[in-house]
Amino acid sequence: MADTTPNQDFPTILGPDATFKGELSYEKGMRLHGKLEGKVNTPGRLHIAKEAKMQADVDAGAITVEGDVHGNLSANDRIELKQSARYEGDLRSSRLVVDEGAILVGHVTVGPDAVKNRPPTTPAKPALPSAVPQNQPVK
């Protein structure tokens, strides 16, 4: 049975009947059993359990995947794809551990410099101010 009780390593749990949409940040660790869509940002760990479904871009310290994941993963320390993992997206990490049986489709960049040389993620730019200020008549 999946461990759905909070502990010291994983104080945050998103339960099997929960769905989260949006941007999520936390410090230590999170275990995902439900559905998550959006972005995850953490210096800690993310564990995606077997029954979990995630469609998100993740920037974390360490990521373990056992479930279904779509999106880009980036980890400073390591990414682990367990036997039951189904992953589609681009992966960037210092270390990668893939168990036999895992499904992986996407671009992989792994190595000590992989995370350092990461292309900067550009935040959504505000619309450029137009040459002609609005609400003013054109002369």
Binding site: R78, R95, V97, E100, I103, V105, G106, H107, V108, T109
Partner: protein, 141 residues
């Protein structure tokens, strides 16, 4: 001589090989080193290929297992193989019909297509990966 006297090897001395080019399976003797695919008539190597030093090749093709040892450094356009073990360096695209094992000090630069992948922590990888169990099973008909 009666027809029944023909020396046919028992079934346990034979194994199934999937053609690297047409994906069709066929039974061959375990000791066979090379053969011609009975479906597409392409020549197939069945031997394992170890690489222990630098080697640059246009392509490496075998139904056996390609092993790149720690001091091995293989530069090639493509590797078509029945399985791959990398402990050294490989630069080139890989299509393996069996599992790809990557050692902790290995380096692979190129696209990898295989039914299974096992990577030791510390390996350096760069490329597009397509790892799905249905790859390399071959056509049944």
């Amino acid at each position: 001589m009666a027809q029944g006297d023909i020396n046919v090897p028992p079934p346990d001395d034979r194994h199934v090989v999937v053609c690297l080019y047409c994906d069709k399976p066929q039974e061959v003797g375990r000791k066979t080193q090379s053969m011609t695919c009975k479906f597409c008539n392409k020549s197939l190597r069945l031997v394992d290929m170890p690489f222990k030093a630098y080697e640059a090749r246009r392509s490496i093709e075998t139904c056996g297992v390609v092993t790149v040892e720690k001091k091995g450094n293989v530069v090639t356009d493509r590797i078509l193989c029945g399985g791959l073990v990398v402990r050294g360096k490989v630069k080139g695209n890989i299509l393996s019909r069996g599992p790809v094992m990557v050692g902790p000090e290995a380096e692979i630069k190129g696209d990898v297509t295989a039914p299974a992948l096992a990577v030791g922590a510390g390996a350096v990888l760069d490329g597009k990966y397509d790892i799905r169990p249905e790859i390399g099973k071959g056509q049944t008909t």
